[in-house]
């Protein structure tokens, strides 16, 4: 049997609670995607990047569980429509990703941490937020032009294209490799730390 469809009211409440939880968790844990990259690349601190990979793995597991449950004949209702964020891939992804990555480093925060920074009272976040909104309106027109003149790209949902078993193996490998590299360096630095303590 399927879940009962949720009323608009319940959906709004869930959106607000999830938003509060996300903002609170990021503020308390100092989670930051820009920091994940820069800590690892500039300073050899891999903890945050490893946590970001783990977050992606946990979210993947949650998605797989929901989708696989939706495949069972008993399921229906909202589960059946839970496709997640499957967008077309193409050159727009390359250009958009480059612009986004460059922008988040210049601003010192990505979209999520721009919002939490505003919540912490830092006015620099308001400047980044203004830029995000203005850029969003420009980008919206640019995306429309791109679709009309360059193309829309192709939608590739790995489980649909390859089947769930192979998709799960690929996903585990693509997430496991960076996690292994990041945590190996963490444990190496732990090892050298204990050596240093012996010296002292």
């Amino acid at each position: 049997m399927g879940l009962a469809p949720m009323s608009v009211f319940v959906k709004l409440i869930v959106a607000l609670i999830v938003g509060l939880l996300v903002g609170f968790a990021v503020q308390r844990s100092r989670f930051c995607f820009v920091g994940a990259f820069q800590d690892a690349y500039l300073f050899g601190l891999n903890g945050l990047a490893a946590a970001a990979v783990i977050l992606t793995a946990l979210a993947s597991a949650g998605y797989a569980a929901v989708r696989l449950a939706a495949l069972s004949p008993a399921a229906g209702g909202p589960l059946g429509a839970s496709m997640g964020n499957v967008f077309p891939v193409g050159w727009h992804t390359v250009v958009g990703g480059l612009l986004f990555g460059l922008g988040m480093v210049l601003a010192g925060s990505c979209a999520l941490t721009t919002l939490t920074r505003v919540g912490e009272g830092a006015t620099v976040g308001l400047f980044a937020l203004g830029g995000l909104a203005a850029g969003g309106f420009i980008g919206r027109d640019l995306a429309g032009w791109w679709t009309a003149h360059v193309g829309t790209g192709v939608v590739v949902h790995l489980p649909t294209a390859l089947g769930w078993p192979l998709a799960l193996v690929i996903q585990a490998a693509l997430l496991g490799a960076p996690l292994y590299l990041l945590t190996r360096r963490i444990s190496q630095s732990r090892a050298s730390k204990t050596e240093g303590m012996d010296d002292a």
Binding site: Q27, R30, C32, V34, G35, Q38, D39, L42, F43, G44, L45, G47, A107, G108, S109, E120, G121, A122, V124, S189, S192, K193, G196, M197, D199, A200
Partner: protein
Amino acid sequence: MPEFLLDTVGDVCPVPLLKVQKEARRLGPGDLLVIEIGQPRTVRNIIEWAAKNGYATEVSPEAHGMWRLGLRLGAGGARKAGR
């Protein structure tokens, strides 16, 4: 035993830690680098970096959203980070 002051309150990541990294190289035994910080993330960032690179830290909250972090060479001296 000189004391140095580094203000990072108007900076966003990763500039505070880049500055700290640069200043910390000049610390001799017993020197103290006092860092003023206005971003919670920066506090944890500097503590993690210091622990990895052989510096001792001491944090004191100054006011709401303001920290002072004291950084000195640890007992074993600065560790060459194998970045």
